[in-house]
Symmetry: C2
Subunit: 277 residues, 2 copies
Amino acid sequence: MATNGSGSPAKKIKKMELGSNGEATEEDPETQKTLEEIDKCQNEIDALNEKASEEILGIERNYNRLKKPHFEKRNDIIKKIPNFWVTTFVNHPQLSPLIDDEEVDCLQYITKIEVEDFENIKFGFKINFYFEEGNPYIENEVLTKEFSMGNNGEHKSTSTTISWKKDQNLCQKKKKDAKPTNSRKRGFEEQKKFFDWFADNEDPQGDDIADIIKDDIWPNPLQYYLVPDVDGDENGMEDEGESEGEEGEGGDDDDIGDEEEIEGEEGDEGEEGEEDE
Amino acid sequence: MATNGSGSPAKKIKKMELGSNGEATEEDPETQKTLEEIDKCQNEIDALNEKASEEILGIERNYNRLKKPHFEKRNDIIKKIPNFWVTTFVNHPQLSPLIDDEEVDCLQYITKIEVEDFENIKFGFKINFYFEEGNPYIENEVLTKEFSMGNNGEHKSTSTTISWKKDQNLCQKKKKDAKPTNSRKRGFEEQKKFFDWFADNEDPQGDDIADIIKDDIWPNPLQYYLVPDVDGDENGMEDEGESEGEEGEGGDDDDIGDEEEIEGEEGDEGEEGEEDE
């Protein structure tokens, strides 16, 4: 080991190991054979990784099935609380700046949200926003935004075409408002708003907003419903220091009743890893 | 639903849902009871997440055991190739700038690397660097750097105290060199170097270098051995464009022999998710 090249800088080593044009095939036959052995070994490791991955997906699929009735039950209970979802959104530190006043009005009519993984969870998920019938903004009963990955690894997203009621198209209104005058008070007209995000399917990969809804709000909305965005709010809440060192998924701090505390962060992390693919 | 507060801005909604000092306990009794129901439901979901997490950890533990002999075999084959590990490190785009010329000399004497997860993989891992006996730099046969997490969630790292041979302490040498003169050519004296990283256990959380070795190099070192860091090298390699749209874990492009191509990325991702805790 390390008998040749002693004292050589990085570049010498690179050259030593690679042919003049960097092709592995220009290694000497002995080294070439050894590299092929390593590669073969690597393929065995990769095959085991793939099997592990399949089994993990199976578990996640199974637990998604087991969790589903609980999510449905949770949705039924949530319906009893007016404005639960819009409050949760508005209280979320990253979603809050995304939602302007008129959108808050509209989002009040959300009665139910569902986040559903595909049966093969690594191929995508969809978010359903249900709207109260007879609301003044939207005709659709449900707006769905779906993120999927094809077999070729290509990411795409699609979303329901929103059927706005007369003169209520919030996407168009904003555009109109933003251009001629500068009369809006909040000063974030340029930022993408909630319904712009919903309608925009140009860049489906790494959609932060979808990830927040799917991986942060949906797993535990109550923590945001109860704890408003401290930033810029007059309520001097002291919740921030407590979650130090954690990944911010907990929500166990928000004990309301005297139910047992259960830490359930890890299950979600496993899922997150898979869907980034 | 959404019958009250129509037209109210975000702040009104926040106030409506929260007592004057933001305490959940100041909700009206009916809402309070409903929130407790949601919380109870949430606990059931969290318990399922925890069970899923346990099962996933079990699978990862099992496959770690199955992969171990293959990693050992791979290490045995790698030993036949001089400078395999130092070349791999020097070719890695993120590790390359970390390793100065003298360290390259020293790292040539690495004969074996091992990355070992703890039996309960979410509690940590260690990296072993084996050095050739009789090398001019280091007395230790093996240098180990270990990252662990206590039951309280606290991260820590420890590393073997390096027993440098006479006048070969590369950490001290660098400090001496760097201060009085400015004669080194590369101009990255200020940057932390490999052995500084090894010895430094001040900030064990989110150690990028450990993560690169564990999650990028160790799963497939061959891809870096064969494909040098294109940046700043005179070999005009054309490997970059091929991995577009992928997460950069592949390595399957580097086919040497005619072994079957197996995609094995996902298994590793599942593991990564768990260890960030």
